[in-house]
Symmetry: C2
Subunit: 241 residues, 2 copies
C-alpha cells in the first residue's frame, strides 16, 4: 500500500499536482474535521460540506443547521460557528448540518475532485478512520492536511502522523516524504496537546476565547464515528457517519 501525506491542499492548476488515486482522509484538526465528527455523534443525520459561505446559506430552511466559520467565529446568518465543544451542548437528531469553514471544507472539495473514497479524520476518530481507510483502499491511502490559508499546520501534520502510525501497524506501506515527516513529528510529541497548543491555529482560537476546543481536539481515538462522502447536492458534499 502506498502511503502519501499532502501537507497542504493543491488544486489541479498547481505545479506537480497529483490526482488522488484511491482513498483520501481529510484532516483539519483545529477544527473542521473534529467538529464534523461531533455533529454526527450528536445525532446529525448528515453533514453538507460547502466550498463557500454562499453555497451554505442557500441550504437555509427547515431541519437545517448552518455552521460556518470565518476568523474562528460564526459569520452572520449562521446558527453555529465551528466549535466542537459548543456542538456538544445540543442534539442534532433529524437535522442536517451544513458546514463551510476556511480550510477544512475546501480541502474536502479539492480531494473529492479526484479521490474515490473521501473520509473526514481528526485525532478524536483517528483509529476508526484509519481502519475504515485500510478496509476501502486498494492501492493508495492519502492523508490531506488542510493547513491554514495555504500554510502548513503543525496540528494537521501531527494528526497525519498518528494516522500513518496506525496504517503501518495494519499493513505494509511505502511512505512518501510527507508521510516520513508526519511520522517524525508524531514521534517527537508524547502528549498530543503539545503540538496542537504550539500551532498557529491554536493561537488564533485562543484569541477568541475558545481554548477548550484545543484540549477536546487533542483527545485521541475517543470516537468511532467516521464521516464518509456518500453523495453531492450541487456544490456541497454530503457526508454520513
Amino acid at each position: 500500500m502506498r502511503l502519501r501525506v499532502d501537507v497542504l491542499p493543491r488544486s489541479d492548476q498547481d505545479r506537480g499536482f497529483q490526482p488522488f488515486a484511491d482513498t483520501v482522509l481529510i484532516v483539519d484538526t483545529l477544527r473542521a474535521t473534529t467538529t464534523a465528527v461531533t455533529y454526527l455523534e450528536q445525532g446529525a443525520e448528515s453533514l453538507y460540506l460547502c466550498p463557500d459561505l454562499e453555497t451554505a446559506l442557500a441550504f437555509k430552511g427547515e431541519g437545517v443547521i448552518l455552521a460556518g466559520e470565518r476568523n474562528c467565529l460564526a459569520p452572520e446568518g449562521f446558527d453555529l460557528g465551528n466549535s466542537p465543544v459548543q456542538a456538544l451542548e445540543r442534539r442534532f437528531d433529524q437535522h442536517t448540518v451544513v458546514m463551510s469553514t476556511t480550510n477544512g471544507t475546501l480541502a474536502a472539495v479539492t480531494a473529492a475532485e479526484t479521490g474515490k473514497n473521501i473520509i473526514l479524520a481528526s485525532l478524536r476518530n483517528a483509529h476508526a478512520a484509519a481502519r475504515k481507510a485500510r478496509e476501502l483502499a486498494t492501492e493508495e491511502i492519502a492523508v490531506l492536511c488542510a493547513g491554514s490559508s495555504g500554510r502548513i499546520g503543525l496540528e494537521d501534520v501531527y494528526t497525519a502522523g498518528v494516522l500513518c502510525e496506525y496504517f503501518i501497524s495494519m499493513t505494509e506501506c511505502s511512505l512518501d516524504d510527507g508521510a516520513q515527516i508526519a511520522l517524525t513529528v508524531r514521534r517527537q510529541f508524547a502528549d498530543p496537546l503539545e503540538p496542537l497548543s504550539k500551532s498557529r491555529a491554536a493561537e488564533k482560537i485562543s484569541q477568541v476565547g475558545l481554548e477548550s476546543d484545543i484540549a477536546y481536539a487533542a483527545e485521541v481515538s475517543r470516537s468511532t464515528v467516521v464521516p464518509m462522502l456518500v453523495g453531492r447536492s450541487g456544490a456541497a458534499l454530503i457526508f454520513k457517519g
Copy 2:
C-alpha cells in the same frame, strides 16, 4: 526576529500566498543549491539561475558553462548536469555558470519576486548562510524549500531545520508552524545522511548512478561560500559568492 519555513514554493496566484518581507534562504539540498555552492568554490565568477532551459540556452557563448537538469541528468545542449561531485572535477575560473534545474532555480525565481535578500543555502554552507541571513535580516528570515515537483522533500525540510537551529542559537526568534516542523525533523536524525538517503529525491538520484552526490550533500557546514543575489540579466538571477 520572525522565523518562517515554507515547505514548498508558492506563487502569488496561490491561495494564502504571503510575500517575502525580508531575507530568504533557498534550499534545494538534492541538489541545486549544493551544486551552486560547489561551482563558486571551484572558481566560477558568477552563477546565473534561470527559470527554464530555454532561458539558460540563450546565454551559450564564450566563457559560459551551461549546467542543466531534467530527470536528474544534463539535457541536450548543456555542458554539465546538476552533480556537485562532477563539479569538483574541474575549475570554473573566469567562467559564468548558467544553471536551470527542475525545482531549485524555480524556487529562487519565485522568492526573488518579493524577497529583499536572496541567499542559496544547503547543508554544506548551512552555518555561513545562516550567519549571513542573520546579518542582513531586520524583521523576518524565511527558508524556502524547493521540494520535488510540487511535493514536500524530507531532505529540504531537514536542511531547513539545521538552519533554524543555527538561527535560534544566534537570536531570539518566533517560529511559525513550518519552522517548528523543520526543527522537529532535524532533531529526529543524528546523522544527516539518514534523512537525505530516505528521501524520494535520493531514490531518483540513485537510479541514475549518482549516489555519491547524496553523501557529499549531507556534509554539514564544510563551506563558507554563500551565494547571494546581486542582479538580473533578463529572466536570469545573478548570484555571486
